[in-house]
Symmetry: C3
Subunit: 471 residues, 3 copies
């Protein structure tokens, strides 16, 4: 027993070391700071020529933002970046609070590595020129999105994979996420600035597929009983609060330009509010317990945020956001009641944190809503915004119907890539030598578990043995 | 017993559903996004004409901000809104941390509904044109203020009203708050950008009056013993920290313009610092216990913030803020020691979280200070700021003395409206069918209560059986 | 026993009162708001003349920022300040979470007083003109840095000094910190915008020296056993998260200008990521336990941040930040394993929170790295940045080698001042009448201690009886 533990401990140390060295070497060879932004007199010919024109490449998610930035007074870059990064890490924290409370240490390892790796992979896809990747604050923001997606995926697996597997999952997940995002945003010209498909749907089905491949009947059953009802409510409360504070601003940061009213921010707030009320409407009807748990409110909040990922910038009236948020808020209670048991027993897919109900289905609903809105898009309704939301339509190279078709096709493409990627990743994680039991001591933080056990001890009985935030 | 629980559970679900549907319908009929802010080429005649002039109506609290915004380079709108919303929700979180730790679920329900309702009511009062309400980020910010006021009011009632009553309180409280605010800011031209009277004083006396009407001798006595000393200190600590981070910037966000030094922000920080020291000076003298509890520091912090609500932008020297903060910090310990017992036994008004000492009295002190400063206001001392703080005085349509008189009159007006509104609301909440006991399981989050009970178990003895943050 | 408690209680109240009154008087006599920023028509001759030229004095740490500010459109001042203060208090919170979890009340007292005192002392050094100190948001930001340094210093002493001693430590620490900072930044022209030497190194050795002077063999031994392993992990998690969110933006806020890409922010993020991986690499090798504790990750995070204090703005390639962060992340595990026991047994210096490993050594490493980079600085590599980072080199009044020499000399100067200052402060704190035992009830928050004890109860065995976050 101690033998196995020591081995797995050293294996994690070795893999961390290897990956960090690999990243440092790749950074040393390829990554440079983007010189475009030098503001003083030119020191090199290269810098000067670059300073006078746009760099020519950028992450599609950040197109509007960057375009705006290049036309503004010099001073504005400063706070842009600070605020973006603040928001970005706030976003990660919200997911940490949700998917990592019992395993914060490992989740932080995932974040620390995923950010470095995402800067590299997305750099090769978007910011590669003359054999160098030019990074800047844009790289950090899109790396945040990518890291959030990986954290969501781990939500299906918490408690059943060991840290070494978690690191490999991060390595593959970041790569596959970036490829899917590149296909959708750059090749297909899909408008999905809040990550409805690229973040929520992709990560949910990727995580579920990995979970399916890793299915081990006996082990899962044991875990299941053990985990039921342990909930560190302090973290759930804080996670929900962080979501309310950071999510709307971040998810829509890239869609707001100039001094336009931030429809996407406001739509997201309205959606969050309506989805919260939906939880209070449906949960008491479905569950007999009289206590509405914080985790149910958090589920609704996340679903309300996910559904606005694509449509947030497209909705021209606030009541649309209220209706969409309300519908999204109904999904998690229904899903946990009727879908999760089927998923587990019939499809042999365990979903520790219920990411299917909270990210997968609301993401799909959001994508369908986005398709509908794209089909209805007219220059009259959007005015100057059209160029920002559907640049290809505004330029006349696509009709609104074509754009809607693209948005619709993006859904099966994402599902396909997520499933194939999940199979591949699951197969890698199942390789011999990695299958060691998840070394629970590593996954669990004794202090946190303590609080959780205290907190969940006298919990109200729940019909579904659900473990939304596993400890 | 289970019968009653099921009924009350379904009643809450039904009311939530009803209110959400009502809000959606009202939004669909009345609410549109403000078109003023489109930045691209005009798509409609309407948009164009609007873009070229000020929209003509706006929330008085945000006048300065908006005015500044309209003269700046286009790019600035972007972060404005993000930061404002960040700060706004940070503010709500601070109040959640304080007034909702034992009942976070219900408090989040209150927030989710109050925001929607406040956007509607304040929309009718400030942003109504041609049969439509035009909302924008301004609406969200002023809805945040309103929601904060409602959360303060619930502080007097926590543990003695059921969720259905809480929702009705929100419905009426938001409406009455908006009317009072409209009378003060728009009709009387009072300068109260930080909400000294409109938020702190109004909500404190509104909540106390509701508490008085709902008084039930036997019930209260039982509760009282039960609640003494349960304190989830984790939340108190976090709430205090959030206050320090978010309060000064938010409460003074609307008073800072151009590149003027942000006196209001700095004054509020100095006031917070001095009020904290005041708590350390007075508490050991009044209480024999040797432990200064976090909640006492939070009380002082809030009082120091409340007293700067009106005067923050008017004080031209930092030491004034230090003195005002120090005096405000002395109020809560004195109030809990001498006033709260009188309030409870003589006036039959229970005040669960002590909002009278923490918001009511410091708010009145702040209003008196603001009156004094308004009377002393001269163009010499304020320079260009005068136009921002006292626009009517700067325009010459009012003398400084008239302005001071207005500020002074605003106090009795607020007290009167708060009392009448509180009576009305209390009467509604007392209606038959609503008086069911507060269904403690709904109000209390088992996880949080656990932590709280552990935390408060071996508490130092307190002379006053005070329950600042009820569990 | 109760006698002593009452006396110490009243002594703290009296000292707080005295210091607050003293501060108010000094503020009343000396401190005025900086008039430079008035934006309206001039009300006084003085104001006008000031408005048309630079104020002429400013805090060196904020030089770049202010210079940028003075050339921009008027509107930008607004958010600058809000964001800065947000970040500043976020920074303090991160330190509160780390150094104050068991004594939050006293730590908040320290923060509240240190901010006022730092505004005064730094005002005399930097913003003094015609007998008045002109404060503005700059003062608040540099006061935040100073307060953070004092909080770090208390980390070596937690649990062994009483609140009265803590206040005196704050009084002297703030003064000495400001003098050291003034010598380094203003007199020697050292570039240290992130506080590598001024904050981390100074506060670590200052705190250690005070700890050495206050050494009491029997008492420390008793404490030691008592404190081992009590860890409120909730606060550690939150503190680490706050560090990730707020640190990079704040520590580099002053080095980012115009629309330059924020190298310092990005370097700090990369350093944090690499140092986190370093913790996962080294900890399992050095310690036999299989659980990586959150506090170890926090140590690595802080070390990764400290090492970027000086070099953050100087590194022109991201992989340099990865390497530096990785090396810094190796320091804390090695230090706690091999150095802390020597420090305690041989040098009789107890270091409650391990600030030597987490701030002292990484700070020195960062200073050496900064020296190296200063020596290598060329106009070619930095372009327009050179003026911002090394203004004296850019102006031609110094060669890069001279600048590097200055940076190097700053290290022994800081160590000397920290040691002498620590001796002096320790001697004052040892004075008769102050040596009363640390009145643990004051220092400890019962609620928090409860959580902590629960959390640490069944902790994994650690070889080193280390008490990173004392309760």
């Amino acid at each position: 027993m101690p033998e196995g533990t020591t081995a797995s401990r050293l294996r994690l140390a070795g893999l961390s070391f290897l990956l960090q060295i690999l990243t440092i070497i790749l950074f040393a060879v390829f990554v440079r700071y983007s010189p475009e932004s030098g503001s003083g007199p030119c020191s090199q010919q290269l810098n000067c020529s670059w300073k006078n024109r746009d760099l020519g490449f950028q992450h599609p998610r950040l197109q509007g933002r960057s375009e705006a930035g290049s036309t503004t007074v010099p001073e504005t870059g400063f706070r842009h970046v600070h605020l973006q990064d603040l928001l970005g890490f706030g976003l990660l924290v919200a997911f940490l609070g949700r998917y990592g409370p019992g395993s914060v240490a490992i989740s932080i390892l995932v974040v620390a590595f995923a950010i470095q790796w995402a800067v590299l992979i997305q750099g090769f896809l978007y910011f590669f020129l003359n054999g160098k990747i030019y990074v800047g604050s844009q790289s950090m923001v899109s790396a945040d999105f990518c890291t959030a997606a990986v954290l969501i995926s781990t939500g299906a697996l918490l408690g059943r994979v060991n840290p070494v597997q978690m690191l490999l999952l991060t390595l593959l997940g970041v790569t596959l996420f970036s490829i899917n995002e590149y296909i959708l945003l750059s090749l297909m010209g899909v408008s999905d600035s809040g990550g409805c498909l690229t973040v929520h749907t992709f990560s949910a089905y990727f995580g579920l597929m990995v979970s399916r491949i890793l299915h081990q009947p006996h082990m899962d059953k044991r875990k299941e009983q053990q985990d039921t009802g342990h909930q560190p409510d302090v973290f759930t409360v804080l996670g929900t609060i962080y979501l309310w504070i950071f999510w709307p601003s971040f998810a829509s940061a890239t869609t707001v330009r100039n001094n336009a009213e931030p429809w996407a921010v406001l739509n997201t707030y309205f959606s969050l509010a309506a989805s919260t009320l939906a939880a209070f409407v449906l949960s008491p009807v479905l569950y007999e317990e009289s206590t509405l748990r914080m985790v149910q409110i958090q589920d609704a909040t996340l679903a309300g945020a996910a559904v606005m990922g694509m449509a947030g910038e497209m909705l021209v009236t606030p009541f649309g956001a209220l209706i969409a948020g309300f519908l999204a808020g109904l999904i998690p209670p229904l899903g946990f009641r009727f879908l999760t048991p089927v998923l587990r027993s019939r499809l042999k897919t365990q979903d520790t944190c219920g990411i299917h109900n909270v990210h997968g289905l609301p993401g799909i609903l959001g994508a369908l809503l986005g398709t509908l809105l794209a089909a209805l898009a007219t220059a009259d309704a959007y005015g100057g915004r059209l160029e920002l939301i559907f640049p290809l339509v505004a330029q006349g190279s696509r009709t609104a119907t074509d754009q809607a078709l693209c948005q619709l096709c993006a859904l099966p493409v994402t599902l396909l890539l997520a499933s194939l990627g999940g199979c591949l990743t699951g197969a890698v994680l199942k390789m011999k030598g990695l299958r060691s039991p998840p070394d629970t001591r590593y996954l669990e933080n004794p202090g946190l578990r303590e609080v959780a056990e205290e907190g969940g001890d006298r919990r109200a009985s729940r019909k579904e043995p659900r473990t939304s935030t596993l400890v």
